[in-house]
Amino acid sequence: MSELVIELKGDENAEKVEEAVRSKPSARRLVIRIAANDGVSSIERVRSFLVNNISRTVIVYVEGERDEA
């Protein structure tokens, strides 16, 4: 299955994911790696993409500390 790895740095967000998907629409599995120290909060950066995605497997990793309570 064709996989696409997308790395988000700094303040990059869902737009970069959408752009990457447009450039490789055949990808059925997306691995999104977010470099962030704000753990779970970084989901907010890609939430609009995650909420709209229905057709692909998406796996999100956050690199850096998890900000657990």
Binding site: G39, V40, S42, I43, I54, A69
Partner: protein, 522 residues
């Protein structure tokens, strides 16, 4: 018994609802007019457990996860929430699942928005996650993985995601991916924060594991997916897969061996089991029901569609044949949940163009009425759901739905209005909130309430809770219904005097009314 992986949920999930699946819906409401403990007893009594705290019956979805893990060689089991303590001293992974973690799905969200009070499913889940045994285990390094049909709700509840230290949220059919996640968690490898299982990663029929322990009320899946393609529905995005009869039989046997003599056949539309497209397969259906009756004194259908009820009966007399097979000295009625969604042809065309198939969608109201007549005649008792606030809904659509409700008033059923929740292809649309309610919505809710109250008493005493065993529950429910009627009359009087817009204005000024909760917390 030392487990590496503990699977659990809160009390509203780990219960058999007194053997009456429909009582589970009571957990979607806040405790109204009675103390919360009594409310919980009505909908979620504690189940029987073994000496290690493993419930005799557990939710089917959790049973599938348990089976996938056990088949892969992991030391995993479902544990009742009141027996977590000793297990969490050793376990390395806690897996949780839920139908509605934060009461954001229908009908929880309606009850919450209408009453301003949190539904008990949400309260119960938050209480579970704040238990000291979970907190302490978390401090010791426990990994927590959350999934189930309500996994999407975590995306809107990041503060709880953080507070409870959820390591991974899995959204979608998880039987394959959970094995990989469990291995990573136990080996101390990096876990993803979020996984969405797309259509190409769902398990095939052969890959779907068979349950190892009994499911709540004997529920067994007979298929997955639905070909009708309604735009608001996430189920339709998944591929269609039918379980072969021998696989179903093995699960029926697991339940029977645990002493269960009832079952629920689970499908989005039981009547298309083994179908070619939407053409029913009478042979497959009759064999399926004969098989289920071999193991169960009583059976229910999880879901069906109105179009299939009408078509199956008109073309094959299949409703008559199936009920003849099902009804005997143990069972005289059949329960099922069905989506009515709207009475408007225009709206139906936009959001669910294949819902009436094989009939043209222009016939939708007639399909509904005919199917209801067929079910009434065959003592099939549907709980119908309507959706309010669908995108592009107009006043005219609401008026058509209200008119259809009038035509249904003599058919034994419950009709439950639900607010639109953005799911399926409509995942990006806005939420329907209380402030969006118009007079037309209120009128539909009023008609649904009186329809359901009228029939609820009849259903409770004639069919659902018959016999001395259910007397306390029957009387509690009757008292509750009387309370709801009294309150409904008061609210109606209030509405007659002020109108809905007047009520909304008064609410805005009133300091005594609860603030309306927002479903989304980030």
């Amino acid at each position: 018994m030392k487990l590496d992986i503990v699977i659990t949920s809160d009390r509203t999930m780990i219960t058999n609802h007194h053997g009456k699946e429909f009582l589970g819906f009571v957990a979607t409401g806040p405790p109204v007019g009675v103390p919360e403990r009594l409310w919980m007893w009505i909908c979620a009594p504690k189940p029987k457990v073994d000496r290690w705290g493993r419930p005799l019956e557990a939710p089917y979805g959790l049973r599938k996860i348990e089976a996938a893990l056990v088949n892969a060689g992991f030391n995993a089991a479902i544990i009742d929430p009141d027996h977590l303590g000793p297990h969490l001293k050793h376990a390395k992974v806690l897996m949780i699942g839920h139908h509605d973690y934060f009461a954001m799905a229908s009908p929880s969200i309606e009850w919450w928005l209408m009453t301003g009070s949190e539904p008990v499913n949400r309260r119960s889940f938050l209480r579970l996650m704040r238990r000291p045994e979970i907190r302490e285990a978390k401090k010791r390094g426990l990994k927590i993985i959350a999934g189930g049909p309500a996994a999407w709700q975590w995306l809107w509840n990041l503060d709880y995601w953080r507070e409870f230290g959820i390591d991974t949220v899995v959204d979608g059919e998880a039987e394959k991916v959970v094995v990989e996640l469990a291995a990573k968690a136990l080996n101390g490898e990096e876990l993803p924060l979020y996984v969405y299982v797309g259509p190409e990663d769902v398990p095939s029929i052969e890959e779907i594991p068979e349950i190892k322990g009994a499911s709540v009320n004997g529920l067994v899946e007979i298929m997955r997916g639905c070909p009708r393609g309604c735009k608001f529905c996430p189920v339709t995005l998944r591929p269609l897969r039918y379980y072969p009869l021998d696989k179903i039989e093995r699960e029926l046997r697991v339940n029977a061996n645990a002493g269960l003599d009832r079952c629920i056949l689970h499908s989005e539309d039981v009547l298309i089991y083994g179908a070619r497209g939407l053409e029913p397969n009478p042979n497959a259906l009759l064999k399926l029901h004969a098989l289920a009756k071999k193991y169960c004194k009583t059976l229910a259908w999880s879901h069906a569609t109105l179009a299939e009820v009408k078509y199956a009966q008109e073309k094959y007399k299949l409703i008559t044949k199936l009920t003849e097979l099902i009804y005997d000295e143990h069972q005289q009625y059949l329960g099922v949940q069905i989506g009515l969604e709207t009475g408007s042809v225009n709206l139906a065309k936009k959001i669910m163009p294949a819902k009436a198939a094989p009939y043209p969608i222009e016939m939708w109201p007639q399909v509904v009425e005919d199917a209801m007549a067929i079910m009434h005649e065959h003592r099939i008792v549907p709980a119908l759901t309507l959706i309010l606030g669908l995108p592009e809904e107009t006043e005219d659509d609401l008026a058509q739905t209200a008119e259809l409700l009038d035509r249904l008033k003599d058919y034994r059923s419950l009709i439950v209005p639900m607010f639109f929740v953005p799911l399926g292809v409509l995942r990006d649309r806005g939420w329907f909130l209380r402030e969006h309610l118009k007079e037309g919505h209120v009128e539909i809710m009023r008609r649904c309430l009186w329809h359901s109250l009228r029939w609820a008493e009849d259903i409770v005493s004639t069919f659902y809770l018959k016999g001395a065993r259910y007397a306390p529950l029957r009387w509690t429910l009757k008292l509750f219904l009387a309370y709801v009627k009294r309150r409904a009359r008061e609210v109606e009087k209030w509405l007659e005097e002020a109108g809905w817009e007047g009520v909304k204005r008064a609410e805005a000024k009133s300091a005594v009314l609860q603030p309306v909760p927002r479903p989304c917390r980030t």
